[in-house]
Amino acid sequence: MVKKFLLPIIVVMSWVIAEDAYERHCVPCHAPLPTSLQRMFMNYLLVYGGEHNFKAALKHYLRYPSKDISVMPDLFIDNFGIKEKSTLSDKELDEAIDIYWNKFKVFNKLK
C-alpha cells in the first residue's frame, strides 16, 4: 500500500525540484513551435551581439512584445503571432534569461 503511493510522489517531487525557471516558463510554450529555442537564440545573437545587449533586448521584448522589435521573420509572426506579455517577476525573468544565455551561448563551444 505504501509502495503504491510512494513511487509517484518521489517522481513528482524530483521533477519539481529539478526544474528551473527556464524549463518552467519558456520551454512549455515554445515546444509546439516549429523553430527551436536555439534558432531563436542565434537570431537574437545576430542582431544584438554581446551578452549584456542580448539579455537587455530579450528582457525588453518579453516585457513589451511587438512585431516591430521581434527578431523573427514576418512569415513566422504572421503564422504564430506575437507572444503575450510576460507576467514573471524581474527575478524570475532574469533567472530564466541567464539560464537561456548559458545554455546556448557560443563561448567555449567553438573548436
Binding site: Q38, L45, Y48
Partner: protein
C-alpha cells in the same frame, strides 16, 4: 716681438677651438636630431604605405572569413568547427570586447585601429554589420614580412649619412664665417692687453729698483713712511702684473720643472712683502721644515705670492699670518675677515671677489687653483667669519 706674435696666434687658436667645438657639438646634436626626426617621419610614411598595400589583401581575407562565419552561424546547431585558412589566422570578439574564439598568436588587440603592426604580425580589424556568432569584431592576423623594414633601414642610414656629412661640412663653413669677427676682436683685445702689460714692466721695475737703492738712513721719518707706502703700492701692482703676465703669456709657456727648495723661497717672498706686513703691523709666525718639490719655480712663486698677499690684504691691522711647512703640506693662515662657508667653493672662480673694499681683479686664487690642478696638488680652505682663514695645500 715675433715670439709675442706667435703666442698671440696660438692663444687665439685655443679660444677659437673652444668656441668652435662648443658650436659644433650643439650643431651636431641639432643635425642628428633633425635627421632622426626626418627618419621617423620617413619610416612612418613608408610603414603607412606598406599597411595600405596590406589592407587590400587583409580586407579580402576578412570578407572571405565573414562569409564562412555566416554559414557557421546558420548551421551552429549542427557544426561548431571554427573556419581556418592557411593564409591567415583570425579571431572573433563580441561588442563588449570579450573573446569568442581566437586562433591568433598576439594577445593584445587594439580595436580602435583598423590596421597596425603588432610585434612580427599585422592585425586587421573588421567591424561586422551582422553579429555572426555574436561577433562584432573580426581580427585577421598575418605574419609581417620584415624585408621592407630592412630595405627601409638601409635607405635611412644611407641617405642619413649623406645628409649628415653635407650638414657637417656646411656647419664647419658656417662656424668659420661666424667666428671671423670674434677672432678679429679677440686678436685686437689680446694684443692690447699684452702690449699694455708689457709696457707696465719697465716703469714698475724702475720704481722698485730705485726704492731699493734709496738711502733710508738720511731720510726723515715722515718720508720713510711715504716711501714704504710707495713700495707697497708698487709691489701690489707688480703682483698684479705678474698675474696678468701669467694669464696672458706664462700659462702657454712650457713648464721648466726643477727641484725647488720651498723654505728659502717662502722666506724670500715674505721678505719681499715685508714692508706691507710691517705697514699693517702684522705678526708673522713661521714654522718650516726643509722641503723640496719638483715644480716650475715661476709657478710655485705665483702660488706663494698670491696666498701671502691675500693673507696680508684681508688681515686685520695687528693680526697674525702663519706659515707652516711640512713634508707634503703647506699651510698659510691668517686672522683676517674670513669667508662664509657657502662661498668657499666659488672662491677659486676667475673674477670672483667677495670683498670689494680691497683692490684686485679676482684672478689670484684662480691662478693658484689652475697651477695646483696642473701638478695634481690638492687645496683645502677652512674659514670662519671674523676669525680667519687656513689654506692647506697637500701634495
Amino acid at each position: 716681438m715675433l715670439v709675442l706674435k706667435n703666442k698671440v696666434t696660438s692663444s687665439l687658436l685655443k679660444s677659437e677651438k673652444k668656441s668652435l667645438s662648443r658650436f659644433l657639438v650643439l650643431y651636431t646634436a641639432m643635425v642628428i636630431l633633425m635627421i632622426m626626426l626626418l627618419s621617423v617621419f620617413y619610416y612612418q610614411s613608408q610603414e603607412k604605405l606598406m599597411l595600405a598595400q596590406e589592407r587590400a589583401i587583409l580586407s579580402k581575407y576578412a570578407y572571405i572569413q565573414t562569409k564562412r562565419l555566416k554559414v557557421l552561424h546558420h548551421f551552429f546547431d549542427e557544426k561548431t568547427t571554427y573556419p581556418r585558412d592557411p593564409r591567415f589566422r583570425s579571431a572573433i570578439y563580441d561588442n563588449e570586447f570579450a573573446k569568442i574564439f581566437s586562433l591568433i598568436e598576439e594577445k593584445n588587440i587594439y580595436f580602435d585601429r583598423e590596421i597596425y603592426i603588432a610585434g612580427n604580425m599585422i592585425h586587421f580589424i573588421e567591424t561586422l554589420d551582422n553579429y555572426y556568432l555574436g561577433a562584432r569584431y573580426l581580427v585577421i592576423e598575418v605574419d609581417n614580412d620584415t624585408g621592407w623594414k630592412t630595405e627601409l633601414w638601409k635607405r635611412i642610414f644611407g641617405y642619413g649619412s649623406v645628409i649628415f656629412i653635407f650638414f657637417m661640412l656646411f656647419g664647419f663653413y658656417l662656424a668659420k664665417l661666424f667666428l671671423k669677427p670674434m677672432r678679429d676682436s679677440i686678436v685686437l683685445l689680446d694684443r692690447f692687453i699684452k702690449d699694455t702689460t708689457h709696457e707696465l714692466n719697465a716703469p714698475l721695475a724702475a720704481i722698485l729698483a730705485n726704492i731699493e737703492m734709496m738711502d733710508m738712513d738720511v731720510m726723515a721719518e715722515k718720508n720713510k713712511k711715504r716711501l714704504a707706502r710707495i713700495n707697497i703700492a708698487a709691489k701690489t701692482v707688480s703682483t698684479l702684473y705678474q698675474d696678468l703676465t701669467y694669464l696672458t703669456l706664462e700659462h702657454e709657456r712650457r713648464n721648466e720643472d726643477e727641484l725647488v727648495e720651498i723654505k728659502p723661497l717662502l722666506e724670500d717672498r715674505i721678505e719681499y712683502f715685508n714692508v706691507w706686513i710691517q705697514s699693517k703691523k702684522l705678526e708673522c709666525l713661521m714654522d718650516m721644515e726643509d722641503v723640496a718639490l719638483v715644480i716650475d719655480k715661476r709657478k710655485v712663486t705665483r702660488v706663494i705670492d698670491n696666498l701671502i698677499s691675500n693673507a696680508i690684504k684681508y688681515n686685520q691691522r695687528g693680526g697674525t699670518i702663519g706659515i707652516e711647512l711640512r713634508e707634503g703640506m703647506l699651510v698659510v693662515w691668517d686672522t683676517g675677515i674670513g669667508i662664509e662657508k657657502e662661498k668657499i667653493p666659488f672662491m677659486f672662480d676667475r673674477y670672483m671677489r667677495f670683498d670689494e673694499s680691497e683692490g684686485g681683479f679676482g684672478i689670484g686664487l684662480s691662478i693658484v687653483k689652475k697651477i695646483l690642478d696642473e701638478y695634481h696638488i690638492s687645496i683645502e680652505v677652512e674659514s670662519e667669519i671674523k676669525k680667519g682663514t687656513r689654506i692647506i695645500i697637500k701634495w
